[in-house]
């Protein structure tokens, strides 16, 4: 089996499913690139290159460049989904969701319920998340808690290329609106990825590393960081289990609770400001349903309650970094 990057894995999934299902279309800003220009159309393939080659294979009726109009992009996807297509809309940076959030949470996500179960809205919104690109306050956010809140929406956060492909295929074969959050910092990371189609089900966490002393639950791009810290801790005899929920909605509570039952200790690693975060969400679930397993306080390693700063030294400190993760684990281990 060949190694593939996270970027290629997503491309693979889309290409394969588009071949299989003619109802799948892709739309967004520069998903092809070059429309109306003097040179080549379709060379861009979305600004991070994730859609490379799709325009060439599927042409302008299926790989549709749009004006800079996120509400119309997401709304058009919702309307197309409601009437028989399976659109994959792109919001280039998730930070832009503020100009189109209505179409996500009040429209696409609510149709089925508001219409008494008579509607299906099979659509995917792809968006890039995360800091670390020195892109400043308006191009570096993650915003997954915002989506996880929304009844009717599913939220996918792949942490590696294998899951990225399988989760995308699962999304494309499901019938609900999905937001699929791609970690910019993971695009070039590689693992073994089968060429053929496979599905990674939603709501099934992956135990990325087994351990017995403490559970780390990390989301998307924080998973590799949690794993790295776990390796460091292992040298000191601390055996950390790392759980990657893969989807935050639905969330696999069982796997998390089973892990905490075993370890009795929990640290959350979540790249977002702390308030009403996924870290707090999972902490609350465990403080209710897993209370009796807990031997120590639940600690969270998040970003501070600040916008994302531009200067690299500040941004590196802003993100949950190995030093801060390790410190949280040690504090929890010390408690009794």
């Amino acid at each position: 089996m060949a190694k593939k990057s996270y970027r290629t894995a997503i491309n693979d999934a889309l290409r394969g499913e588009m071949r299989r299902n003619p109802d799948i279309i892709v739309l967004g800003e520069d998903v092809a690139g070059g429309q109306g220009a003097t040179g080549d159309v379709g060379v861009v393939g979305s600004v991070f290159g994730v859609l490379g080659g799709l325009y060439k294979e599927f042409g302008p009726t299926r790989v549709i460049d749009t004006p800079i109009s996120e509400s119309a992009i997401v709304g058009a996807a919702a309307g197309a989904a409601l009437t028989g297509l399976r659109p994959v809309a792109e919001i280039m940076f998730v930070d832009f969701v503020g100009v189109c959030f209505d179409q996500i949470y009040n429209q696409a996500a609510k149709f089925r319920y508001m219409f008494g179960g008579k509607a299906k809205t099979p659509m995917i919104i792809r968006a890039t998340i995360g800091a670390g690109f020195r892109a400043g306050a308006q191009h570096s956010q993650s915003m997954h808690p915002l989506f996880t809140m929304v009844p009717g929406l599913k939220v996918v956060m792949p942490s590696n290329a294998y899951d990225a492909k399988g989760l995308m295929i699962e999304a494309l074969r499901g019938d609900d609106p999905v937001i699929y959050l791609e970690a910019k910092t993971l695009y070039d990371t590689e693992v073994e990825v089968p060429d053929e189609a496979y599905r990674v089900p939603f709501g099934e966490a992956r135990v990325a590393r087994e351990g017995k002393d403490i559970t780390l639950v990390a989301f998307g791009p924080m998973v590799p960081r949690a794993l790295a810290v776990a390796e460091t801790l292992a040298k000191d005899g601390i055996s950390a289990e790392v759980v990657d929920p893969r989807t935050t909605s639905p969330l696999d509570e069982d796997t998390i609770l089973e892990s905490v039952e075993k370890t009795g200790r929990l640290v959350l690693v979540d790249e977002s400001p702390p308030r009403c975060s996924l870290a707090s969400d999972v902490a609350a679930i465990v403080a209710d349903k897993g209370f009796k397993f807990l031997k120590a306080p639940i600690k969270s390693v998040t970003c501070p309650h600040t916008p994302v700063p531009f200067a690299p030294v500040l941004e590196d400190e802003y993100m949950p970094n190995p030093r801060r993760i390790e410190a949280a684990v040690r504090a929890v281990m010390k408690f009794d």
Binding site: P67, A72, V74, A76, G79, Y113, F115, G116, K118, G174
Partner: protein, 321 residues
Amino acid sequence: MQLSRDELKRAYKRMFTIRAFEERVEKEFAAGNIPGFAHVYLGQEASGVGVCHDLTDEDLIGSTHRGHGHCIAKGCDVKGMMLEIMGKAGGLCGGKGGSMHIADLSKGMLGANAIVGGAPPIAVGAALTQKYKKTGRVSVAFSGDGASNQGTVFEAMNMAVVLKVPAIFVFENNGYGEHTAASYSVGGGSIADRARSFGMPAEVVDGVDFFAVHEAMGRALEHCRAGTGPYALEIRCYRFLGHFVGDPQAYRTADELKDARSHDPLPLFRKKVTEAKLLEASELDAIEKEILAEVEDAAQTAIAAPPPDIKSLEKDVYVRY
């Protein structure tokens, strides 16, 4: 194009159904039988019915908070609507939607929308499906004059032009968005000009006259079916009542309210078809009688109907979760 007698009857039937339905809604609202808000379509009947007259169940419409008229014009079942608006189990949306979110996909009615400007982007998407699947069908986005100031509506118009989709933007300019006049809120004063600035053809239409609306819509359909992209209609009409049932409307003078009522699409239609000897007054009377009975039955049934099962609360959020 000359309409057949049957078609004329259907048009009057739908206009009168809206009239009777909305007057009943007014009454049942006052009686406490309708929870929440009710925005009625009284005075605008010729607009919705003229726009939808030549549409089939496969053509699509996206509607507004003032959506009952659009539903009826698109052929939704009146009893199912009344049940829905009263929050009852048998309603078109099982009582979960209500007046502002009523929908019937089987009739191509993609939902009322309680977010001003919510529907046009969705209607563009529905139009994209028609283009992609080469169905020859169109998608209509209804908006009000107030909605014509919402960013999403502009985006939808531009997107429709760029993607060359068969979308028809129908702006029902009834002079008011809530309690603010269009003369104040619509900079430049012409919604049609806004649409034109995106490069699509647009017409200003007399919304009191069913025939004017129907003919303009014919041109819009022709344009869309030729595959050349969207079309816009600014339909000038009158809001007989307040923004919602119960709005005291101190911002409108008695004279203006009286004047509005003088632009009534129903007597105008009657006059036109009877004077042209296309239909007899007695035929129209018969339609009215039939409809009044239908609405009476719908209201009685809905009042007596049971509420949804509490167990439905957590159902139908997802297809699968």
